[in-house]
């Protein structure tokens, strides 16, 4: 079994996909670091102060003014209201939610890429794990060996999980070092707040507690990993079902992108919360943002995702072991 997994790892490394993904991450992180730096500068210029309290206060006032203008959509109003209350809570407890530093950048990068960017990278690895063997014909060679079919598939699945972990690790390391050059490498022990829960338009703060940023980061990366595994599993299933890698990618891409669009407009279509793609933003629950649909919680989203993942895994194994290969 270990040899089978190792064999699959060799295949993945040989395809140089990991290298390409790392290169994409380097380019994007550099881009975002530069954008973030510009934003900090313009904010300081605009407000004429480097004091974070004044800056945060100004953001709160700006939000309040936007809330008072007409023509805001219901979802956007709710989102702003929750964020406003949260910012006020941070301010009232003298905690800076965005003190500059590489760990803060890592956190924001992870939060913003959990629903699209990271799943896309995972897809690049998982999409052709099985389908490429089918389209290339090598599947026959693989299956003629005296190994049970489910073992072959399992070894591919484990290799997928390992590469997902590796992608996340490189994401963390790359974003830490690139952004650290600009923002400094400190900030691991900075305090952050978690445990907010959203009740309608109100922010419930009874369970709010302080976490060090390193713990917070570890938690968020754990969630990102969970999401990546689920997305990877779904892609894996499609890869088993279809011969064409392009079709696998197309379907996953459509699902993921529709997820980001749907999250912005589903608040009135309640049963949409059972779709996997609107449940991807798990980190928002930790940081205390308003969920896309009322009543969604971390437990709910994780359960939905886990169910989708398990079903996909079962289908993959059933189909792969029963299918005729010719």
């Amino acid at each position: 079994m270990i040899n089978l997994v190792y064999n699959e790892m060799i295949k993945i490394v040989r395809k140089r996909r990991l290298l390409i993904i790392a290169a994409i991450i380097v380019v994007l992180v550099a881009l975002f670091t530069y954008a973030q730096m510009k934003r900090v500068q313009s904010l300081q210029e605009q407000l004429g102060t480097t004091d974070w309290r004044s800056q945060l206060q100004q953001q709160i006032i700006d939000t309040q003014n936007r809330l008072n203008s007409s023509g805001l959509s219901e979802e956007w109003r709710k989102f702003l209201q929750i964020r406003l209350q949260q910012q006020q809570y941070y301010l009232d407890h003298d905690i800076n939610p965005s003190a500059p530093g590489a760990p803060t950048f890592m956190r924001m990068f992870a939060e913003n890429s959990i629903d699209l960017f990271i799943p896309l990278m995972v897809m690049v690895i998982a999409a052709d794990l099985v389908s490429s063997e089918a389209s290339g014909g090598t599947i026959k060679l693989l299956l003629t060996r005296p190994v049970k079919r489910w073992k072959i598939l399992l070894s591919k699945y484990i290799a997928m999980i390992l590469s997902v972990s590796f992608i996340l690790l490189s994401l963390g390391v790359i974003s830490y070092f690139i952004s650290g050059v600009v923002f400094g490498f400190a900030g691991w022990t900075m305090p952050l707040l978690t445990g907010f829960s959203v009740q309608g338009e109100e922010l419930d703060t009874t369970n709010v507690h302080i976490l060090s940023q390193w713990k917070y980061l570890l938690m968020e990366f754990g969630l990102v990993w969970f999401v990546s595994i689920i997305v990877g599993t779904l892609t894996f299933m499609l890869s088993v079902l279809m011969k064409s890698t392009a079709a696998v990618m197309g379907i996953m891409l459509a699902a993921l992108i529709s997820g980001t669009i749907l999250s912005n407009m589903v608040s009135s279509w309640e049963s949409a919360k059972y779709l996997f793609m609107v449940n991807l933003r798990l980190t928002d629950y930790v940081s205390g943002m308003a969920p896309p649909i009322d009543g969604m919680t971390l437990g709910f989203s994780m359960t939905v995702l886990a169910v989708w993942g398990l079903v996909a895994l079962m289908i993959s194994f059933l189909v792969f072991t029963k299918r005729d290969v010719y």
């Binding site: 790892m9 004044s54 972990s165 969630l223």
Partner: protein, 267 residues
């Protein structure tokens, strides 16, 4: 060589898998099984270290007039005051505009209870404010549905709040000069102009009376500025000033601010 690369990547992958699973476990423990300890303390004003930047600090408080609604350049009278002041002094001027559109006197009174707002007021040298426009014009339903009784009720509440606001500002910062900018009548050219003007004048008079109870709170009139050709100075909503209107207010306020030798040394 190739084999080594694969071995290293595999080892790192296994290690990071462990790390992320630990993170996931930590999340589950923290988010689902968190037992609340003592709640986190809110800070009070004295916990916050006042780090004073050099220069003149201006805080703007109030409603849409202070925010600058209607001025397409977005400056509002606050912006024009600063423009004028910059020609008078070499010091840098820091402006913080805490005004909220549609805010009424009760809202401002409660805004002044926020620790951060209090901290900023403590540091202020000059405070500019407008308040009361929404108390008067919205409770009187833009004076169209005119009812003297309702207006008087609104005024009583408003004056009470104004007392609270001035008292809070003075206790936080006894030295800053407060410019309370009073109301004009945007309905000056409508047919009820006589009655509406009378209401606004009285409103302004009573507000100025309240201001006179406190040291260096100056009620700045704007009524006269908009009395002739009111439409030239109003934005298309016929309620807020336009660029020209804000310029008039800004020039008037700026003309009241002077910098003495002593100020220059102190700041």
């Amino acid at each position: 060589m190739k084999g080594n690369v694969v071995k290293i990547i595999t080892a790192l992958s296994i290690f990071s898998s462990g790390l992320w699973i630990a993170g996931l476990g930590l999340t589950i423990k923290d988010q689902f099984f968190y037992e609340s300890e003592a709640p986190i303390k809110e800070i009070s004003l004295k916990d916050v270290v006042a780090k004073q930047e050099d220069g003149i600090h201006i805080i703007a408080l109030g409603d849409s007039l202070t925010r600058g609604t209607g001025d397409e350049s977005g400056k509002g009278y606050v912006g024009y005051v600063v423009d004028e002041l910059q020609t008078k002094t070499k010091q840098s001027i820091h402006v913080k505009n805490l005004a909220i559109k549609g805010q009424r006197s009760a809202g401002l009174a409660s805004q002044l209870q926020q620790v951060e707002v209090q901290r900023q007021i403590k540091q202020a040298d000059i405070i500019l404010m407008t308040i009361g426009g929404n108390d008067l014009f919205q409770s009187g339903e833009a004076l169209s549905n005119f009812s003297l009784e309702r207006i008087n009720q609104a005024k009583a509440d408003y004056l009470q709040n104004l007392h609270t606001i001035f008292k809070t500002i003075r206790s936080l910062n006894p030295n800053a000069v407060v410019f309370y900018i009073s109301l004009y009548n945007p309905f000056n050219d409508l047919k009820d102009a006589k009655t509406t003007s009378a209401v606004v004048r009285e409103w302004n008079f009573d507000s100025a009376e309240v201001a006179s109870n406190y040291p260096s709170i100056i009620a700045v009139p704007t009524f006269d500025l908009f009395e002739l050709n009111v439409n030239d100075y109003l934005y298309s909503d016929k309620f807020h000033p336009n660029k020209e209107g804000y310029k008039l207010i800004g020039e008037r306020v700026a003309s009241l601010i002077t910098f003495t030798e002593e100020d220059e040394k102190n700041d």
